[in-house]
Chain length 198, copies 2
């Protein structure tokens, strides 16, 4: 006495979302059907629409609906600075600081040999082609300070050095508003090593 | 310099799923676009298909693709026993016990005055029409043992009594394999009150 197949298929399909296991998929399916069919309709259309319309910007690799995204096409941004981030969310975080007026490149991932993600999977050659446009003077490596993000930054810095391009890494240290007492030892040690003249 | 609108719409639409806030919606959207566009396509179709095909069984109120679901249409189930549960997942749990061969009625909720869910929202009159088919001899109330589930069972038992129908409540007690030491006091007290002759 199985469940109707379109319900089973919906539950199964929901599991493609990250962090959604069999139990949450079931809960989501029943919620959509029982309490929010209009939301479900909207979601179905939004997915189809996004998959159809979004592609990668040929300059920054971020998602866009045009060939070149609005930011890369803007004349108000400084084309001599290129900030490399792992994911679009990181780009958003950088933008929220209002502290950077250059351009970006989104790797859409990080080096992760255990998951089979190497320089080829991240298309580092596209990034190298991008930085070779004659305008980029400095590449700011803003990958995360995780092991994988650090390895990615290190690898990229070597590639950039080989091409004679200046690269830099955003600073590690005690967070703004942070108290030494509550900051982990590795961060404090790093802040000490990377101290700046006052 | 906003995000492309179809991306924003996808992120917004994902928030109709229960337990999905702005951060997870963003993560899900990027995951679908970057790592699993085929899964996204499948999900989009599955939602549309489920919304189009599924409806409530006119007998048990569970989701079905036919007018009457397979279980209600089966001649192998005992029509004199009707088990009332809150949600389809509860029905599935009951079925997994292989201990019940009667029919079901799914309330699709529970009484919850604070959320504005009363007897009318749960269409208790449909359940009353269902139990009045002349075949049902006993209504087993298997709502959850939460405050709301208990209130729902109590309310239904009064309605059923007024119609001269026998109703029963599934038993509370120490779980199978449970040790008294690790069982909460309220459960042990209930097990004591509802003790059975050996």
């Amino acid at each position: 006495m199985a469940r109707p197949s379109s319900l089973d298929e919906l539950i199964e399909a929901l599991r493609c979302l990250p962090g959604v296991g069999p139990k949450s998929a079931q809960r989501m399916a029943y919620h959509l059907l029982q309490h929010n069919p209009r939301g479900g309709e909207r979601l179905s259309l939004a997915i189809a629409h996004a998959l159809k319309n979004l592609r990668h910007c040929i300059r920054c690799n971020n998602f866009t609906e045009a060939e070149v995204c609005e930011r890369c096409a803007s004349s108000k941004r400084d084309p001599s600075l290129l900030c490399v981030v792992e994911m679009p969310v990181d780009l958003n975080t950088m933008e929220q600081t209002h502290a950077f007026n250059g351009l970006y490149y989104v790797l859409m991932g990080r080096l992760s040999p255990l998951d089979g993600i190497g320089p080829r999977e991240l298309a580092f050659e596209r990034l190298m082609a991008r930085v070779g446009d004659g305008l980029v003077k400095e590449v700011i490596l803003a990958t995360n300070f995780t092991n994988e993000g650090e390895a990615t930054a290190h690898y990229l810095s070597e590639l950039l050095r080989a091409r004679g391009l200046k690269s830099s890494r955003i600073a590690r240290g005690v967070p703004v508003g942070g108290e030494l007492e509550f900051t982990d030892a590795a961060t404090v040690a790093q802040a000490l090593r990377e101290r700046r003249e006052y």
